[in-house]
């Protein structure tokens, strides 16, 4: 396996880029030592984040970072776009709000897949979602 840098990012412009982002996340989480369920969860979270960019913002990027604070290891993923932003973040964080539309896990789903979740969104400026998962 190719050695992976401490930090990296994948630009998201076309649907194919979602696959590249998943691959990058999976390789990194494998290297960190995540088991296969967690690898799959991380890949799914990345998939959702990248898909949101592709569908709603048209372009953006997914950044990856290996976390290591001596005590434990983990992965940090930041999804960033300059898209239209989300007018009411509270609403999209509600369970059943996006999933009922059949759009996938939605933001609450991503939050569940990971250990840490944060979102900053400004209408007209863009959205930045940060997630982390720790190795147990």
């Amino acid at each position: 396996m190719m050695d992976i840098q401490f930090q990296s990012f994948i630009p998201i412009k076309k649907e194919w880029d979602i696959v590249a982002a998943r691959q990058q996340g999976r390789d990194m989480s494998k290297q960190i030592g995540f088991g296969s369920v967690d690898q799959a969860r991380i890949a799914t979270a990345i998939s959702e984040l990248a898909r949101n960019i592709y569908l709603y913002a048209e372009q953006g990027k997914i950044c990856f970072e290996i976390l290591d604070d001596m005590e434990h290891k983990g992965i940090k993923i930041i999804a960033k776009d300059d898209g239209p932003g989300i007018p009411d973040v509270g609403k999209v964080m509600e369970d059943g709000y996006t999933t009922s539309g059949g759009l996938g896990a939605g933001l609450p789903g991503i939050k569940r897949l990971m250990d840490y979740f944060d979102i900053v969104s400004e209408e007209g400026k863009g959205t930045e979602v940060t997630v982390q998962k720790w190795l147990r």
């Binding site: 296969s36 969860r41 369970d95 059943g96 999933t99 609450p108 569940r112």
Partner: protein
């Protein structure tokens, strides 16, 4: 450890193909559900168990299990979402229960004790909160005012709306307002305070104890019934009037019905007349039949028995709030 347990069960099954192992697998899955283990985690346990039991598992097989795991991740999310929604639902339910208790305290009205009158009343909500309301008031001369109201619609909006009727009624002076005046005043309150599209039907009666007559008026409410003891027959208390909340200035007509000993006034809401048997509405005749069956009982027992009858007819699942009041002139 779930993994050890699962591995042993799986091993037992693979060796024996025994139904007992399958039964234990069933128990295992119920326990896992209780412990909130999601489907993808079960699959992970399965994969780990298989790799433990068969270290030489073919590569294709191994990869196919990983592939399957990938397809289960979304089910795992859905499982968790379901759990959260279920908790939320329980929360809501208990919150509504509190509100329903509060409503019954707020709307509480006592059936007055009046010499020469036997009064029975029952009001049951279809859901937790009621859109029906009845109100008794007794003045110093032992005359009795009776209001029965029904918000079109049921549940919480209807219940909120009903509190307004209660407070409006309470704010009126206690001395002898005519039924038609009470309805006219209430109509103004409702018209001003309720969104268009929400209506309230209401019957208001004033029983004059000395004359033994009921003066009444109706705002589009289900017609009351009169039981004539002498002829052992029922008649409808016709009183047409427009429902509360449609227009600002409306006046209502007022009627009078006098009671001989044994005669009864029966007031109800459409939850009674619109009881359904399967797909069909019951006929008014059937209600009268049922009331007749219990005529020998005190008024409160009649209304309770009638309610029990229709509760059973509807398979114990009320479709609308049910209110029934009986007022009988005694010796």
């Amino acid at each position: 450890m779930a993994l050890e347990k699962y591995k042993n069960l799986l091993k037992q099954y693979l060796e024996t193909e025994d139904e007992a192992a399958l039964y234990r697998a069933d128990q295992f899955s119920k326990k896992s559900l209780m412990d909130d283990i999601s489907p993808d985690e079960i699959l992970q346990i399965h994969i780990d168990a298989m790799l433990d039991l068969y270290p030489d598992l073919s590569k294709d097989m191994r990869l196919s299990l990983d592939f399957l795991l990938e397809t289960m991740i979304s089910y795992g999310i859905a499982h968790q979402e379901f759990r959260v929604l279920r908790e939320k639902q329980l929360e809501l339910k208990s919150e509504i229960e509190v509100a329903a208790n509060m409503q019954s305290t707020l709307l509480n009205t006592n059936i007055p004790e009046v010499e020469g009158l036997d009064i029975g009343a029952i009001s049951i909500a279809a859901n937790q909160m009621s859109g029906d309301y009845y109100h008794f008031i007794k003045d110093q001369e032992d005359n009795v005012g009776i209001g029965v109201a029904d918000v079109i619609g049921k549940g919480i909006p209807a219940a909120l709306c009903m509190s307004m009727i209660k407070y409006a009624l309470d704010s009126f002076p206690a001395n002898r307002l005519n039924p038609k005046t009470i309805l006219r005043l209430l109509n103004r309150v409702v018209e001003r305070n309720v969104e268009p599209g929400m209506f309230i039907t209401m019957f208001y009666g004033f029983y004059n104890k000395n004359e033994n007559c009921l003066q009444y008026a109706s705002a589009g409410h289900e017609p009351g019934l009169f039981y004539n003891a002498k002829t052992d027959s029922f008649e409808t208390l016709e009183a047409k009037g427009i429902v509360l909340g449609v227009e600002d200035s409306i006046s209502y007509n007022q009627f009078t019905k006098c009671l001989s000993v044994g005669d009864m006034i029966i007031l109800l809401t459409d939850g009674v007349t619109e009881c359904r048997k399967g797909d069909q509405f019951i006929e008014t005749d059937e209600i009268l039949q049922v009331i007749k069956e219990y005529l020998h009982l005190p008024a409160q027992d009649i209304v309770e028995n009638v309610y029990r009858h229709f509760e059973r007819v509807q398979d114990f699942d009320l479709r609308d709030d049910f209110t029934l009041i009986i007022l009988r002139r005694k010796e």
